[in-house]
């Protein structure tokens, strides 16, 4: 059975007349990597945010393992389907708090996945060339590449089944980009029921990643749709 199903999702900004995307329907199966593409302004980020309910869709529904997502199960859903922001942002001042926060959240779900321990986080940071990081430092003091990698570790700490990746390597130099790519692919390969949707602007990266291509432009109704910047 499909992990995640989108059925006729449509969205337009509150003050707009034209839909940015209309009747988006797709399925994500276990083990699958879907690369989402489309010109900037086609609403790729918005679509991922709408899937996890950070933005309200105008119409349509999302199903998680066949169940409709409601106010009661949305937190658990977000804990299993984690949206990774395009720009890595501090969710707490210090690095240590950024890494402990997801563990605290995961502990709130009684029968949820066991979150990464501090040691496991440390090993993951080492693989991303952040082994020597002083965790008492402020998250904001890191370079954007370092922030993106810490933010990625922060997200996989809750061991999500699905990752919704919003251009996670856009702000990285090629070396860091490769190590993040490898980490994501390793994470997905480690368990056969994991899956991801990955927004990528780079043709080379799309070729490296492989996976199924999903072009959002087929759901962009009008030529004016390309203007909206969230």
């Amino acid at each position: 059975m499909a992990l995640l199903q989108a059925k006729n999702l449509s969205w337009k900004p509150a003050d707009a007349e034209e839909f940015i995307w209309k009747d988006v329907s797709f399925e994500l199966s276990p083990g699958e990597l879907v690369v989402l593409e489309g010109p900037s302004g086609s609403g790729k980020s918005t679509l991922l945010k709408a899937i996890v309910g950070l933005i309200e869709v105008s119409s349509g529904k999302r199903l998680w393992r066949g169940d409709k997502i409601t106010a009661d199960n949305i937190r658990r859903f977000r804990n299993e389907v984690v949206y990774v922001h395009q720009t890595p942002v501090a969710i707490a001042p210090r690095i240590a708090d950024n890494l402990s926060f997801p563990r605290e959240i995961a502990a709130e779900f009684v029968d949820g996945a066991q979150p990464m321990s501090e040691d496991e986080q440390e090993r993951m940071l080492e693989r991303l060339q952040l082994g020597a990081l002083d965790r008492s430092r402020r998250f904001d003091e890191l370079s954007v590449g370092e922030r993106q990698r810490v933010a990625f570790v922060r997200c996989i700490t809750v061991r999500p089944q699905v990752l919704l990746l919003d251009e996670p390597t856009a702000s990285l130099d090629p070396d860091s980009a490769h190590s993040v790519e490898k980490c994501v692919l390793d994470y997905l390969d480690a368990s056969s029921d994991r899956a991801a949707i990955w927004i990528s602007h780079s043709k080379e990266q799309r070729e490296r990643l492989g996976g199924r291509l999903l072009d959002l432009t087929r759901w962009n109704p009008g030529p004016s749709a390309g203007e909206y910047r969230p």
Partner: protein, 272 residues
């Protein structure tokens, strides 16, 4: 505690005395005109407004005190609450649907509990609406409470908007909306409490508080004036905290969506 003002031992001021005092203002006005500072116009308007507004208030208070009936006192309190709530929200650059009504409710709850609690249980007034106690106490609580809630509301909603990505990143991990927003709600609450905490920290070290000064000028022994000042400081702290908490929690509730996201479009910007 039952304080009785022992003797009314003060020198009454005549209108002539006040006119003489107004001469004091001519000195800065003259300097302002000579140096073209442009302060004289505002100074004149402000002085004029002070005289008119306070004279009007004096008339009303004489009337309400003279009538000594609850149905004179309660409407006066309601008017004070209305203007305080309006001023509080107008000072905030960010608002939410129902912010005026919420500010009115928060101030009414916080200041009524404190004022009537103190007049009944601590001071022990004969009638619950005793205007000599109830009106000035409520006025002092409102002045501080409205500053508190406007600072809190402005800070909380501005911070939430500025930290939208952080709030969403916390939500994206499965946090509840409350958990996701808590640092900034807390920051808002703290911000509203700063003025009263600061004045409690320095009271008596830097200046004599206005109310105490007034009582001493009116002939009250300093020890009694101090007792009243301590009482009022406690009341202000309690009422401000209560008002700020009620307002922030209701504001948070209003901008919350049941599906654990912030209703960003419910937060509106205004000129402060």
């Amino acid at each position: 505690m039952s304080l009785v003002i022992a003797t009314v031992d003060y020198i009454q001021l005549t209108p002539w005395d006040l006119a003489l005092a107004a001469v004091l203002l001519l000195i800065p006005a003259a300097i302002s005109i000579a140096l073209r500072l442009g302060l004289e116009k505002n100074l004149a308007i402000a002085s004029f407004r002070t005289v008119v507004q306070l004279a009007f208030l004096g008339l009303i208070l004489e009337w309400v005190f003279g009538a000594d009936r609850w149905f004179y006192v309660v409407p006066m309190l309601a008017v004070m609450l209305f203007f305080a709530a309006r001023a509080a929200i107008q000072r905030s650059t960010k608002r939410f649907p129902g912010s005026y009504l919420t500010a009115f409710a928060a101030l009414t709850l916080a200041t009524s509990v404190t004022t009537f609690g103190v007049t009944e249980l601590v001071i022990g007034v004969e009638q619950w609406y005793e205007p000599q106690y109830v009106i000035p106490l409520l006025g002092m609580l409102l002045g501080n409470g409205l500053t508190g809630i406007s600072l809190s509301l402005d800070r909380m909603l501005s911070d939430l908007m500025a930290q939208r990505s952080a709030v969403e990143a916390r939500l994206a991990l499965g946090a509840s909306l409350w958990r996701a927003c808590r640092p900034w709600v807390r920051e808002g609450l703290r911000n509203g409490m700063i003025p009263i905490i600061n004045s409690m920290m320095i009271v008596g070290l830097v200046s004599l508080p206005g109310m105490m000064t007034g009582q001493i000028l009116a002939g009250v022994p300093p020890a009694d004036a101090v007792a009243y000042q301590i009482l009022i400081m406690f009341m202000i702290a309690a009422a401000t905290a209560l008002a700020v908490i009620v307002l922030c929690l209701i504001a948070f509730k209003v901008v919350s969506h049941p599906e654990h996201r912030v209703r960003w479009d419910a937060i509106t910007r205004h000129e402060g």
